[in-house]
Symmetry: C2
Subunit: 210 residues, 2 copies
Amino acid sequence: MDTATRPGLRERKKQRTRDALLRRGLELFTTRGYERTTVDEIAEAVDVSQRTFFRYFAGKEDIVFFVQEMVESQYVTEIARRPAEEAPVEVMRQAVMSCWDRIGASIEQLVPVELHLRTYQLIWETPALLAIHLRRSIEWEEKIARILAAREGVDPETDPRPRVAVGLFGGVMRVTERTWSAGGDLTVAAMRDLTTRHLDAIAPALARGW
Amino acid sequence: MDTATRPGLRERKKQRTRDALLRRGLELFTTRGYERTTVDEIAEAVDVSQRTFFRYFAGKEDIVFFVQEMVESQYVTEIARRPAEEAPVEVMRQAVMSCWDRIGASIEQLVPVELHLRTYQLIWETPALLAIHLRRSIEWEEKIARILAAREGVDPETDPRPRVAVGLFGGVMRVTERTWSAGGDLTVAAMRDLTTRHLDAIAPALARGW
DNA sequence: TGTCGTTTGTCAGTAGCTGTCACTAGTCTG
DNA sequence: CAGACTAGTGACAGCTACTGACAAACGACA
């Protein structure tokens, strides 16, 4: 067996500890609730000290957003990959759809997809998490706006269109996410369906008479 | 002087304590920074115990969002007041503008307008506050969506247009707020100007070719 | 003036998070 | 392969936001 490419024992041990904290944390959060789960409980469940938990995750919340981070960064990558002839809003739409299609392949090795989908519900029903989630969203939006601006060759500091496009698209996606997580059908199919319906409602919503 | 309509000494004392905590808190936050100001410091500056602080404000953050709450509820009231012939998005636009016009009259007796404007900057440069601010925003959005739905006689649970309209409008307003608070000109006039420019950019941003 | 109810301060305690220090167990070097 | 180095860890102490319990202080009102 090749040991040269494989990380050392120390590294593997670290990886295992992180994964354990992540999975046990998410499991405890989604079953018991975020607020009702203490850091000490997660640490104890994985049999490490509280201090060690904080060496792997800067905060309790980081457990929740670790997988989210992966998915979101993939979304941004996908945006940068879209063909040049696509209109900005269409770029974002296609990227969202494409990400939901790949979701299984991209995270399954870390956590079960079903657990990840339940995380959205956890976020939207936990005020403290929702707040952080929304802040993270607009941080991504800033990055996306810059990418779209570069794509279209405009300056985001003087031309409001990139940020406005991303902001309004994000606003609609937030509504979609909220509706999806509140509804009973927490599946990728349901999310795709809702996304289509909401994005198609943009023009009608802007129209003069309803 | 009429003492019958005037609240008693106890009530006035309470009012004074609350106002003092609010103003001193905002002053300390905007000068020293939010994280670097402790609740104990605010309490001490007003010469009450820490426990008393928490009897007036449920949390440190509530100092920051007390005036915001007033302004935002006035915004929602304004929306409900708009003439029936105005299109939904136009309703929100007019309400925003109208609120910025009245901002002086509505809060000046509580805190100086200038201090309130600086609060937006504080919020947008303090991650913890920004997170809460965004969550509060989407909570208002839900209320506004219901008002607009009722106005137009549609069911928000089946027709996506009310929430989509509010969500995308909110998304654009967030971009506006962010840009404004990051820029050098923290005035009502600058905010009005930016709002107009961003809202006018919605249609161009959605267009196929930039 | 004295009683009653509200407001307040004090004290103790919890949860999230950080700094410090010493110990142990991988890892690297000669 | 032995000894030095270093990263990961646990134990402990401390800070800040926040809460509950109880008693003292104070305004309201007869």
